[in-house]
């Protein structure tokens, strides 16, 4: 969904404000409940960014300016490795989560096919982010790949039996498996370790998109056993435009970007020292603060869920219920469908009331599409259109929830009235 607001008044936008929660980039006005889209940069990350951005130096240059940049990059790489349970040499820095997912899907597919031309099957969960699904389907259209969408249950959790059956029948033709660590829409935590256990006997590499998980739940690359893992800077308090693919050193991985041979020759391009330095600082901060922050966010989220249910009694929580399955869901995620309402009406009305949320699903030309995640969970399309995701982060407070809950009854009533006169509702009645 495209939501455009007037540009902020520079006079009212200080460069840095060190808030109580360690965030520095100013959070948007009102109740910002869209931290899964992007979350404010931490003060320390912004300081690291500014310090490096003021320096000149290409990390690939051999002179002293280059060495200074290289040192900042390698320190960040070591910090990232430590925070994510990986070795520094396993970290391939990218321009963000989307590039890392593309590198994983295409790079592993090409690498595996070079070893064995029969390996054309790509197994992905049906609830993957488009940054995983779209490269996979691109390979199906351009490189002879066959995509197997692994089903999920009603809460969005991977059907492991389906995966095992698929592997039992087609392991020899399978190039890779990609199952996200946690879902970006409904927050469902996937059984990644079980996926690894299922794949290991066949030697099939497993990739996981952990963009939403890092900083929310414990993520340890080595311990998880996955072969490749995507992380992103701006989802954990770093800048937009930087991320990484963690890849085991023995993984067959072809390059997507060719050029100067940076990053093991797998990802060419001049390293963005400032963003990488800030990414390292932000990741360490997010991981170090995670236990306390996650507990705080889970409590705030539980409160949000209870109060949304009270304010809008017909709202349906999608994804695992944190009351019965607290570990099954990201602590900062809540997701509802509102029967009879359309997501874009809800979004507009909440925005007007100073509450910024998301429909959670991808947009096409600015138009929210019914979420493929909800459809895969078996939610009917009409109900999927009334989806709203609320995601909490470091700067979230009880007052954000207060503002949402105060606005919600009228917002839902209005959106339901609009839904009654909209084409879809009419069509459904006819």
């Amino acid at each position: 969904m495209i939501v455009t607001t007037p540009p902020p008044d520079p006079a009212r936008t200080p460069l840095t404000v060190s808030g109580a929660h360690g965030a520095s980039r100013r959070e948007p006005d009102g109740a910002y409940l869209d931290h899964a889209a992007t979350t404010p940069m931490s003060a320390a990350a912004l300081a690291a960014y500014v310090a490096e951005a003021q320096r000149t130096g290409n990390a690939s240059s051999l002179h002293s300016a280059g060495r200074t940049s290289r040192r900042a990059v390698e320190e960040a790489r070591e910090t990232l490795a430590k925070s994510l349970g990986a070795r520094p040499s396993e970290i391939i820095l990218t321009s963000g989560g989307t590039e890392a997912d593309n590198l994983a899907i295409k790079g592993i597919f090409w690498g595996r096919r070079a070893q064995d031309t029969h390996r054309t099957r790509i197994l992905v969960s049906a609830v993957e982010h488009h940054a995983v699904l779209d490269p996979a389907f691109w390979l199906a259209g351009h490189a002879g790949a066959e995509i197997v969408l692994l089903p999920v249950d009603g809460e969005g959790r991977l059907d492991l039996d389906a995966l095992r059956a698929e592997l039992a029948a087609h392991a020899d033709e399978t190039a890779l498996i990609s199952v996200m660590w946690a879902n970006n829409e409904v927050g469902t935590v996937q059984p990644v370790r079980d996926v690894v256990r299922a794949a290991r006997p066949y030697g099939i590499p497993v990739h996981t998109d952990a963009v939403q998980a890092v900083g929310q739940i414990e993520v340890d690359f080595t311990e998880s056993g996955v072969d490749a893992m995507t992380v992103s800077g701006h989802k954990l308090g770093g800048p937009v435009g930087v991320g990484a693919l963690l890849a085991k050193r023995d993984l067959a991985l072809d390059a997507v970007l060719h050029g100067g041979g940076q990053e093991r020759g797998v990802r060419s391009g001049t390293l963005d020292t400032a963003s990488i330095a800030a990414f390292g600082v932000a990741a360490r901060h997010a991981v170090d603060c995670r236990p306390q922050r996650a507990a705080r966010l889970a409590a705030l989220r539980d409160d949000l869920v209870a109060r949304v249910r009270a304010a809008a009694p017909d709202a349906v929580l999608r994804g695992p219920d944190p009351a019965s399955d607290p570990a099954g869901r990201l602590p900062g995620n809540a997701h509802f469908t509102f029967p009879g309402a359309e997501g874009d009406s809800l979004l507009y009305l909440l925005d007007s009331a100073g509450v910024q949320a998301s429909t959670g699903s991808a947009c096409q030309a600015g138009v929210p599409q019914p979420s493929h995640v909800l459809l895969a969970m078996g939610v009917p399309e009409a109900e999927a259109r009334g989806a709203l995701r609320f995601t909490l982060g470091a700067t979230s407070t009880e007052s954000d929830v207060d503002r949402l809950v105060a606005a919600l009854p009228q917002v839902v009533a209005r959106a339901q009235a609009a839904g009654l006169v909209s084409g879809r509702a009419m069509g459904e009645l006819a």
């Binding site: 969904m1 495209i2 939501v3 455009t4 607001t5 007037p6 540009p7 874009d344 009406s345 979004l347 507009y348 009305l349 925005d351 007007s352 947009c363 096409q364 030309a365 600015g366 138009v367 929210p368 209005r414 959106a415 009235a417 609009a418 009654l420 006169v421 909209s422 084409g423 879809r424 009419m426 069509g427």
Partner: protein
Amino acid sequence: MRVLAAMSGGVDSAVAAALAVEAGHDVVGVHMALSRNRDQFRTGSRGCCSIEDAGDARRAADLLGIPYYVWDLSERFEDTVVADFLSEYEAGRTPNPCVRCNEHIKFEALLDKATALGFDAVATGHYAQIVTREIPLPDGGARTVRELHRSPNDAKDQSYVLAVAGPERLARAMFPLGGFASKDEVRAEAARRGLSVSAKPDSYDICFVADGDTRGFLQSRLGSRPGEVVDVAGEVVGEHDGAYAFTVGQRKGLGLGRPAADGRARYVVDVQPATNTVVVGPAELLSVDRIAGEKALWFEGVLPEPTPWAEPVETAAQAPDVTPDPDGWFDAEVQVRAHGAPVPARVRSVARVGDAYGDDVAEGDRPASSSATGVAAAGMEIELTGSPLRGVAAGQSVVVYRGTRVLGQATVARAWRSRNA
């Protein structure tokens, strides 16, 4: 007022939104996505429907400092405008999709959703004026009626395609460009505000027919249905791939192998869907002086007396300038094409189409268009009092004017020559 500005990405709607903002309204910009599979970039003269156009609308909203949203009305558009376009051609009629879009999308789907969400009005970049007038009541009070009038910009006037929205819906519409006398003035207003769309070309094509090839679009959606082209004597003179692709008055693209016996140009004079036959004949068969309209609507203060099919306002004092004769006829002008000229006529409201005129068709004449759909809720009868019109196709909109003021609107059910013609 809370105003929703419909923003296509073109210069007109951007300036309309700007004027609504400057008038002090609380404005939100909304771009309607009317197709699920939109082109990334603008092609040809289409100026509203690509992702690039949505981006232009967003930039204009940014500049105006107003929130901006995209609303997906593609299903509704397909179910109403596109479906009507196909079924009308299939029935041998000639639809006007812009009229249907105003009827079903802009002033129904968009307007109703806007109203439900708390907006007071929808502002668009149309060239037409809404004039409010006080009508005195017998008790000394007054009643405000809203009239739709032509734009002073004759070349751009869009009252013809707006009339279908009717008075109640237009009461919630706002046309900030209504007073502009030329498009150049609007472009200048856009440039003055730094709106990047100021030099964007006008759009003319049917937005959902990608390359302007209506016949190709119809064929892709309706399939090939070969049939015969006959002359008025019934002699087969050619073949076609689907009668639906022809429209009354059409001369080009008939694909007739040999010239007419008399060597004169031939035109489509009738499309007969039941037999999948296209009838061609000389130009004079296209001349009509009688039109029967269906789905008629009347603006406030026009109809003199209450009728079961059209509720007028409650007093007899409301129609000071429309004075019907005892049979209900009154003098007006009618227009049958978006860019056609109005012609003098006498007009009346009737309960249903086809009650009158049954014996008034000139002997030996084939009706120029005969594919009436039968009974409609409210009809309109029109007798042209000046020169006849050529090529009036069933399905087109007929709009009744008195000077600049729109009195009513109907869809042409049939048009024919009377004995007097």
